[in-house]
Amino acid sequence: MSSFALALSQLFDGLSVASILLLAALGLSLSFGLMRVINMAHGELLMVGGYLVYVAHQIAPSASIVLGLPLAFAGSALLGAVLERLLIRRLYGRPLDTLLATWGVSLLLQQAARSWFGPTGVEVTSPDWLAGSFAVDTGPLAGLAFAHVRLFIIALAGLVLCGMVLLFGKTRIGLHIRAVNQNRAMSSALGVNTRRVDLLVFALGSGIAGLAGGVLALIAPVTPTVGQSYVVDAFLVVILGGMGTLRGTAIAAILIGVLSAVAETFTSISFAKVLLLLFVIAFLQFRPKGLVATRSRALEEA
């Protein structure tokens, strides 16, 4: 395999990692932008999605994706909605406290997963139509292979992103979301039901995290701690991208996914983590609010 082909295949792997990160980070970013809420249980919503795909796979092995992914989305969205109603609503205006309370939730969910599914991972074999890969046999790129699963993940992430852009830009509820994001008090005064918008965005973000977990189940075993291992990286994406912006989150996810794939080829996985963190801290020295900052004339922001 030529070095160029190797670099391309790294880039491809990086993109698929970035796609999962994007799905994981979208909900975090949206709920922070809108509600100033940091949801530490977000990783566990991802985990729930993974387990739901596993359950679907147990029930109907051939339909693990067709049945599993919608189930993962719906299940995580429902759980997110319950979480918002029962817990997060009580803690508005106290971002650091929500962070702590939702961490308690994440412990409960992890332990529940451990009791139900066991401490070791469960595996989902992807269906036949996703099992192969497009291989390049001849020419300068010989040896390069694009696994169908990873292509599917990239396509799904792209689809979700497009859906979000349309939802935000073209629908009435999207307009409301943007309005609340810019100025909560003013939107409320103009008749937007801000509580409903909060609930909807939180459930939507949770559902997307569930999707992330669902596709993750196709390439790696689902374990009780799978959420925890993804959520820290997802937080870095949110920080780097700037809270509450679709564009920033998307760019940051690609940047972090590709950068860590590149760093992992040159160093080790652990050094790549350190380098990534250093990169984010260094970047924030130039743009403390991330890539895309929501402009505001408010003096103090959370």
């Binding site: 922070f32 100033r36 940091i38 817990l87 009580r90 803690l91 205006g93 106290r94 971002p95 650091l96 406290d97 962070l99 702590l100 309370a101 961490w103 308690g104 939730v105 994440s106 412990l107 409960l108 992890q110 332990q111 451990r114 009791s115 100025n183 008090a185 925890q228 820290v232 937080f235 870095l236 949110v238 920080i239 080790s268 996985i269 652990s270 050094f271 983590k273 350190v274 990534l276 963190l277 984010v280 801290i281 924030l284 020295q285 403390p288 505001s296 004339r297 408010a298 003096l299 103090e300 922001e301 959370a302």
Partner: protein, 366 residues
Amino acid sequence: MIRRSWIAAALPFVILAFAPLYVGPYYLGLIGRFTSLGILAMGIVLVWGQGGVLPLGQGVFFGLGGYAMAMHLKLVALPAGELPDFMQWNGLEQLPLWWKPFTSPVLSLAAVIVVPGLAAGVLAWLVFRRRMTSVYIALITQALALAFATLLISQQGTTGGFNGLTDYTTLFGVPLGDERTRTWLHVATIVLAAGAYFFARALGATQAGRLVTAVRDGENRVRFLGYSPAPYKILVFIIAGVFAGIAGALHTLHLGLISPAMVGVVPSIEMVVWVAVGGRASLYGALIGTLLVNVAKDSISSAWPDAWLYVMGLVFIGVVIGTPRGLAGVVETVAARLGRTRVVAAAAAAAAPGAEPIGEEVTTHG
């Protein structure tokens, strides 16, 4: 009046210092360990309760202090010229350069304080310089804890990897397992904890300490008054880092082990739990919270290993929603209700400045 309250605060430390006279060796070990952790918890009070910045990576500084101590203990346990066992297993021929200073007890003790302090200082300078929000800082410190633990695990040949560093024999030429050594270690721990307590308390009364609290309650107002908040935040962050480093070194001595499992993301958040339970704005609350949560963890996780995470998760949600000011807040409220005069309530409110508004009071001047 002030002097009397200081004596009252010192009394529990004195009682604890004499614990070897009335407590068996097992519980003495627990008291020693948990009191060392209490030093770290007081550092979190300074940064979080008084400074308003939630640190989710204190395990890193705890680990730096702990590893500095452990590296020295590991080296003195060896015959001259030999390498620690895990280095031999990993095929190392020579002691790595950065291990060399730890042959000296003086340099090692200095490293316990200087390395975490320096690391905390650099991190604080980077994050406070550019006015990052407290949420960003919380998440960055958490990512730091993850990176630190991953790095320790991956560098097995020089850090001992997942197993960490253990099997110590002597400290400054004295056998560690000896009963007299354990007694002195216990007394030293209590004295250091008392020292940290009074240092933190005295700091709160200085201008710098008041400014830190002022920054928490209204950073921009402090700026408008002509102060730059960053140096004060960096200062408390360094102090908390040093507290954590000392705690790490003491804990390593008491437990006889330091490993990546004590420094990562989860242990770092657990440290915040102790403080949240005890009361984030109260030094004594943090100490008591640390003792209570760890005693509970010790007894519950040995009786029902599975239940511990459920208990901790529920306690955490309950504390944050029910009593944001922790046990210290409950005590103050009860004391205020029981108090015969309103003066008590007023005193309690005055003793816990900034107990309200808790967390971030977002003032928007739009």
